[in-house]
Amino acid sequence: MSDARTRVLLVLAVGLLATVLDRPTALSALALTCVIALLAVGGRWSRAALLASLGIAWTTVVSQGLFYGGLPRTPLIELGPVAVWREGVAHGLVQSLRFVASTCAGAALALSTTPDRLAEALVRLRVPWGASFLAVTALRFVPVAASEWWTVRQARARRGRPLLARAPWAWLAAETALLRPVAARALRRASALGESLELRGFDPSVAPRAAAEPWPTLDRAVLGTVGALVLAIVAAEALTWTYVHGLVYVPALRPVYGFVRTWL
């Protein structure tokens, strides 16, 4: 999608779907689509974002499987006193698929769109200029902070022992200490940046004039299709919710209730 507005709206659609969908199959399809989009962007940051989100997803599934406290629960694997609960794994899977879909979609947007284009798109989508600029500036400094963290790590490695030559708790303490210079640098930069913006006439209440840009036809077509699909899913979920909670029951909608409970 060539227009940044399209990408922003697609990410919003993914966020909405990740919230309303409940079935692992549907969430898997959504997460897979977002993973493919992220991989299509390419670059080491996209791989890092993917690995990080998959790592967190895996940890969520395992921890929910082990520590699920709800009842009833069925053991999936039993190793002496330790059990992995089927319901816990399913719950963890749903939560982590939501996380993977949202994170990968957001990362794909951030990595495929320059901050200036993103700020412009947000303003065109009627997001207040101050909020757009703030969000985009924060985003711009994520790779800077990551690269600084890496520099600090290298500086420390030059002066000390290798990381693996430490006890796990010492390693953890050393890793945490790395955040100190990165945070100090970020604070110093934030102050300098704020002053620079102020002196250069930045006013959060006045958006800079941007030339009108036509929305490409292909983008409009994709957005129309995705929008219709999301609306249909949200409507079906809402109708099923009213039925499940005993508010409204329409016999003609039984196929819809069935579809939602099986697939969505």
């Binding site: 500086a155 002066r159 210079p181 300098a192 930045f202 006013d203």
Partner: protein, 422 residues
């Protein structure tokens, strides 16, 4: 015209100024000099109105630029009223491309003909980089030129520049001063706070000297102070402690199949224009052996401990060097940071942070010490003290440093490596 009358000024980092009265006329070229901590940056912040805004400081007195208070001026009018170049050029960048960065101020001010303004400002600042590049990817000197171009682009009648030459090569510094002189000819008031007094004195029409927050001299520029005496260097040993062949970096025009050899006790200066590859060369030389310690141009990212004492002790403790704590005290004393030992490294001033980073490197007793721009933003006395400390503390180590100051290279190096486009 700028008029300042202040009986007392205090910035958020506790720097104090005053009492003083200063009136700067149209077209004046003013040099503000003074040792680190004298109040140069605080004075510029006062002139720009920054100190009086958002509780960044307290001002008892008033500042007027053409009878208007810069602190209460509407944001959109500021870029057309005054241009400011801050001390840390990298931190002031707000846009994703060089062109957008330079156009930011004029765009906020609602000015037109942005493309022409950007082109002219880049030309005046001597910035010849691709306009589509991300300014964060540029070298420190190139970033500084971009920030200067951003300050020039809105055509403000007053320019305030905080150490604009700190990261510029001599040719770049001369060219920038020529451009600033040309601007003053058409009525722009240019105020430069700078440590490189010898370079700026012939350029300025007025010299304001500060000490401990008070104006100690104000008038026509006098003669340049003499260069400090060069103390004789101990001759290099025969033992080669570093040899690197085939240093090649496509993005650094000065690095094409370069070979470097360093001997014990040898002092080598690396000179060259901005962006030619000095920092890249130092990084390449530092790689591969724990006996080579590099202090980068931004020393903040090498300081990760809770106190300066822990910072200095980290290397020797990790390496289990004998007599670590005694050595820490000795190094701290030599570099005059003994009073900071129990403070957090990041709570210190920029010059102090550099000395802490160098001290931390020295405490590991490296065979090769690599310093990237150790003179940038430092007053001459601090630079001389730093090199005196190196002579005393690591007499046997090879030291290689990148600098833009040929005088420092002459006084403190056996030989120089000059990088140029190849």
């Amino acid at each position: 015209m700028i008029r300042v009358e202040a009986s007392w000024v205090r910035s958020s980092d506790s720097a104090e100024l005053g009492p003083f009265r200063l009136t700067l006329g149209r077209g004046e070229r003013v040099l503000i000099s003074g040792p680190s901590g004298a109040g140069k940056s605080t004075l510029l912040s006062l002139l720009s109105g920054g100190l009086a805004r958002h509780g960044r400081g307290r001002v008892v007195g008033e500042v007027r630029i053409d009878e208007r208070d810069p602190a209460t001026m509407p944001p959109a009018e500021r870029p057309s009223c005054l241009g400011v170049v801050p001390q840390e050029p990298g931190d002031a960048l707000v846009a994703g491309t060089v062109a957008d960065e330079v156009a930011f101020g004029p765009r906020c001010a609602g000015l037109t003909e942005l493309e022409r303004r950007v082109g002219e400002a880049l030309e005046r600042a001597g910035c010849r980089v691709d306009r589509g590049r991300d300014p964060r990817e540029l070298s420190t000197g190139e970033r500084q030129r971009v920030v200067i171009a951003g300050a020039l682009a809105a055509g403000a009648p007053v320019l305030l520049l905080d150490e604009p030459l700190a990261f510029l090569d001599p040719a770049g510094a001369e060219a920038l001063l020529r451009e600033l002189a040309a601007l003053s000819e058409v009525g722009v008031t240019v105020v430069v706070a700078e440590h490189r007094v010898r370079t700026v004195l012939p350029w300025c029409t007025r010299h304001v000297a500060l000490r401990d927050g008070v104006v100690v001299a104000d008038g026509a520029p006098g003669a340049s102070p003499p260069e400090p005496d060069a103390l004789p260097l101990a001759p290099p040993a025969e033992e080669v402690v570093l040899r690197v062949d085939g240093v090649d970096e496509p993005r650094a025009p000065g690095l094409r199949d370069l070979s470097v050899e360093l001997r014990a006790k040898e002092r080598v200066a690396v000179l060259g224009a901005n962006g030619v590859g000095k920092s890249t060369l130092l990084r390449a030389l530092a790689a591969g052996s724990p006996d080579r310690i590099e202090v980068p141009a931004d020393p903040d990212l090498t300081l990760f401990c809770g106190t300066v004492r822990e910072e200095l002790a980290y290397g020797p403790t990790e390496r289990r060097l004998p007599g670590a704590m005694e050595h820490v005290i000795r190094v701290a004393r030599a570099l005059r940071i003994e009073h900071l030992l129990d403070r957090a490294p990041h709570a210190s001033s920029r010059g102090e942070r550099l000395r802490i980073a160098v001290a931390a490197a020295l405490c590991t007793r490296p065979a090769v010490l690599l310093l990237d721009e150790p003179t940038a933003g430092q007053d001459e006395a601090a630079v001389e003290r730093l090199f005196a400390g190196l002579r005393e503390l690591v007499p046997d180590a090879a030291v290689i440093f990148a600098t833009h100051d040929p005088g420092v290279a002459r006084r403190h190096a056996h030989r120089t490596i000059v990088l140029g486009e190849r």
